[in-house]
Amino acid sequence: MTMRTQGALVRLVRSTLLFAMVLALLLPMIAASPAEALTVDSVTARSNQIGGNEVMGGRPVRVTWIGTVGPSESIESVVINLPDGVSPLLGDDASRRSEKLGGQPVSQDDQGSDQYSRVDVQVTSGSNRIEEDVTWVIDNERATVTFGKPVETGHKIQISVVNLVFPDADASYALTGSYTDDTGATRTFDSRAMQPIKVVARPPVEKLTDWLSDQPWVQQWNSFPVCQTFFKPQTAVSSVPALFVGWLRSLGLVLLGFPLAIPIGLAFSFLRMSKLAVLRFIASIYVNVIRGTPLFLQIYIIIFGLPMLGVNVDNYLLGIFVLAFNSSAYLAEIFRAGIQSIHKGQFEASASLGMNGAQTMFSVIIPQTVRRIIPTATSEFILLYKDTSLLAAVGVMELMMFSKSIVATSIDMTPYVVAAGYYLLVTLPLTKIIAAFEKKLAAAEGHTDEPPGKKKKRARRGSSGDSTAEDSHQENALQAAASAVGARGTGHAAGGEGS
C-alpha cells in the first residue's frame, strides 16, 4: 500500500507540469466525458474445449480483459470483479497473490498448466511491451492488479485471470470492475455493453471424463504406461462421440461403393463367360490387373492422377468410385464362380422342360447363385469396409482420419482402439450372419430331411441315406466360390487365381 502511494506521489509530481500544459487543450473533451479515462477494449474467455467466443462451464478457463488508458490519465490499479458464481481456484487459501514483483508475460502455452488461479498482466505501447512492476491478488470476490508505476496514456493493459471456473450452465457473463488513477480517484467500468462471455454447460461426455479423472481406479489404471497409452478411459469416453461421424462416413463409403460394384462386377462376370474370346480377354485383363495390384496404389493413382488431368471431384466421391471399381473385380470372380458352380443337371432339367436360356437363367440359375454367393459376397463387403481406411492416406475424411486427428491432441493411442471398436461393430455381426447363413444354406441344399416348419435343422452329412451326387458337388461349388474371395483374403497382390 505504501509503495503504491509513494509511486503515485512521484508520478503526480512529474506529471503536474504536463497536465498544466495540455489542460487548456483537452478541457472541452474532459468536460464532455469526464469518466472516460480508461476504455475497456475487450473481455474474452478461452479454454481448450470450445472454439469461438464460448467456454465450457465447470472447467478452468482464462478470462482476458484488455483496456486502454485514456488521455491524460495514469492508471495505478485495476480491480476486476468476479461475477456471481464464478470461482477462482484458490486451493485451501482465502486468496492467492503474486509472490514477486514483475508482471508475468501472458503465455498461450502455460494456459491451465497451473492448478491454481493466477493473474497474467502485460502492458504494451503500440507493439512494444512495457516492463512494469506488477503485483496482483485474487480472492473469491475480485482480482486486483497494482502497477509499480502508473500506466500512461495510450498504453494497453492486458489482464488475464487464469483458472477461473464458471458455473456449469448455459449463461452469459459481463465483467465489472474499477480502476484507480494517479490522483487516487476510483472509477468503475462495466463491460456489459460489450460482447459478453458465453458459457455453455458441460456436455454429458465432458462431465463423464471429468468424473473419470477424479476416480482413483482411473488414476491407478493410467499410472501404467501401457494402459494409458492404449486405453485411457477419459480419451475413450470422448472418442466415442467424436468418432461417430467418421464411422458414418466410412459406412457411407462402403454402402455407396459396394452396391455400385455389384452391377459392374456382374457385367464383367458375364464378359468373362462370353463366347467371344475378345470380350473374355478384356474382362480378364480388367479383373487380373485390379486384383493383382494393391488397392492402396489404385487409390494413389486415381486420387492424385485425376486432379492432374484437371478433373476436380470431391475426394470422398472419388474414394467411392475407387472402392467400387476395385471391388467389382473381386465380385466378378465371385459371380462367375457362383454361376459356374450350378450343376449342369440344372441347365439340363430346365432345358428338358422346354425352358429357354433366359427363363433358365432367371428362374433357376440366378436364384440359386444368389443364395450361394451371399456368404462370399458378404465377406467381400467386410473386406471392402475395412479397406475404406486406406483412403485416409489421401485425406478422405473417414473413421481412420478422424482417429488420427484426435490422436494428435490426445497423445495416446486410445482413439485408434475406439476406431477398432467401430470397425468391429460392423464386421463381427456380419461374420456371425455369414456363418449362420452358410449353415442354413447347407441345410437347405441337401443335408437335412426334416419336414418344413421345424426350425432346427440337423446336418445329415455322411449319412448313407439319400445323398446324391449333387450334394458333394454343391459343397465343392461353395468352396470354389469361397476361394474366389480367398485370393483377396491372402492379400491384394495375389490376384492371379482364376485367370
Binding site: L353, G354, N356, V364, A443, A444, E445, D449, D466, E470
Partner: protein
C-alpha cells in the same frame, strides 16, 4: 406322315461322337405310340446318349431323329417346342433345390406353357398326388428322400403333358428300398398308355413292363425283341454275357 403308322419317334442311322470317341455308331429305332421300350446294356454302351439325343440334350453328329411329324435334327426346328412334349427323368433327379416340390412342378408350366398360377397349381397337386406325394407338396427337395425327389421329378415332367417320357437310369442313384416306389409310378404310367423309353438296369421291371427290350453295346443295337425273347433266349454272345453278369 409318321403318325399314320403310329410311330412317335423314329431314329435313323444316328451317330454321335465326343471328339475321337464314337459313342453312337448308327442306331435305328422306331417307337410306336403307347409303346414301352427298355434299353439295356453295359455302361458306356451309349444308351444314355441315345436318350439324350432324342430331346437334343446332345447334338447328334450324323443321322436323323423324327418326333411325330417334326424332324428334330433339322437346324430350323424349335428345340424347346420338342422338349416341351418330350418329358425326361434323370438319374440325379435334378430338382430345383430352391423351390418346393409344388413349385418345381409349377415352374415350367407357368414359364413355358403360360398356364395361370391356379391352373399350374391344380395340375401340380394332381400329379404330385398321382406319384403319392400329396402330403409332401410344400417340402423342399432337400427335405425329401431320393425316391420322393425322383417322383417329384416325374410329376414335373408329366405336368407338361408330354407325348413321350424318357427315363435315364431313373432308379440307379436310389437306395434299394426306395427303388420300388419309383418303379411303381413308372409301371402305372406304362399301364396308362404313356409312350416310354426307359434306360434301366432293373431287369424285373423290364420284363414286367416293357413291350420291347433292346440290348445295346459299343454304340449300336446288338439285339432286340420282346422281353421274354431277350431275357430267356438271347441270341448274341454279348447279350448272353451281359445278362449272365447282371442276373
Amino acid at each position: 406322315m409318321t403318325e399314320s403308322n403310329g410311330v412317335v419317334i423314329r431314329i435313323e442311322d444316328l451317330h454321335k461322337s465326343f471328339g475321337a470317341l464314337d459313342v453312337l455308331r448308327g442306331v435305328d429305332l422306331n417307337v410306336a405310340r403307347g409303346e414301352v421300350v427298355v434299353i439295356l446294356g453295359p455302361s458306356g454302351s451309349g444308351k444314355s446318349t441315345l436318350l439324350r439325343c432324342v430331346n437334343l440334350l446332345e447334338k447328334p453328329t450324323a443321322g436323323d431323329i423324327w418326333f411325330e411329324d417334326t424332324r428334330v435334327t433339322d437346324p430350323a426346328t424349335d428345340v424347346n417346342k420338342i422338349r416341351e412334349q418330350v418329358g425326361m427323368v434323370f438319374q440325379s433327379f435334378n430338382l430345383f433345390p430352391h423351390l418346393s416340390a409344388k413349385h418345381n412342378v409349377m415352374l415350367a408350366q407357368r414359364k413355358v406353357l403360360k398356364r395361370t398360377k391356379e391352373q399350374a397349381e391344380r395340375i401340380a397337386l394332381e400329379h404330385l398326388g398321382k406319384v403319392g406325394l400329396a402330403d409332401r407338396v410344400d417340402y423342399m427337395p432337400a427335405q425329401l428322400s431320393g425316391g420322393q425327389q425322383q417322383r417329384v421329378a416325374i410329376a414335373r415332367a408329366l405336368a407338361m403333358d408330354p407325348h413321350v417320357m424318357l427315363f435315364d437310369e431313373a432308379t440307379s442313384a436310389l437306395d434299394p428300398e426306395l427303388v420300388r416306389g419309383v418303379l411303381d409310378v413308372m409301371r402305372a404310367l406304362a399301364q396308362a398308355g404313356m409312350t416310354m423309353i426307359v434306360v434301366t438296369h432293373e431287369m424285373g421291371f423290364a420284363r414286367d413292363v416293357a413291350d420291347r427290350a433292346i440290348f445295346m453295346d459299343e454304340g449300336a443295337i446288338v439285339e432286340e425283341g420282346t422281353p421274354e425273347q431277350l431275357f430267356d433266349d438271347p441270341q448274341h454272345e454279348r447279350t448272353k454275357d451281359f445278362l449272365g453278369h447282371i442276373i
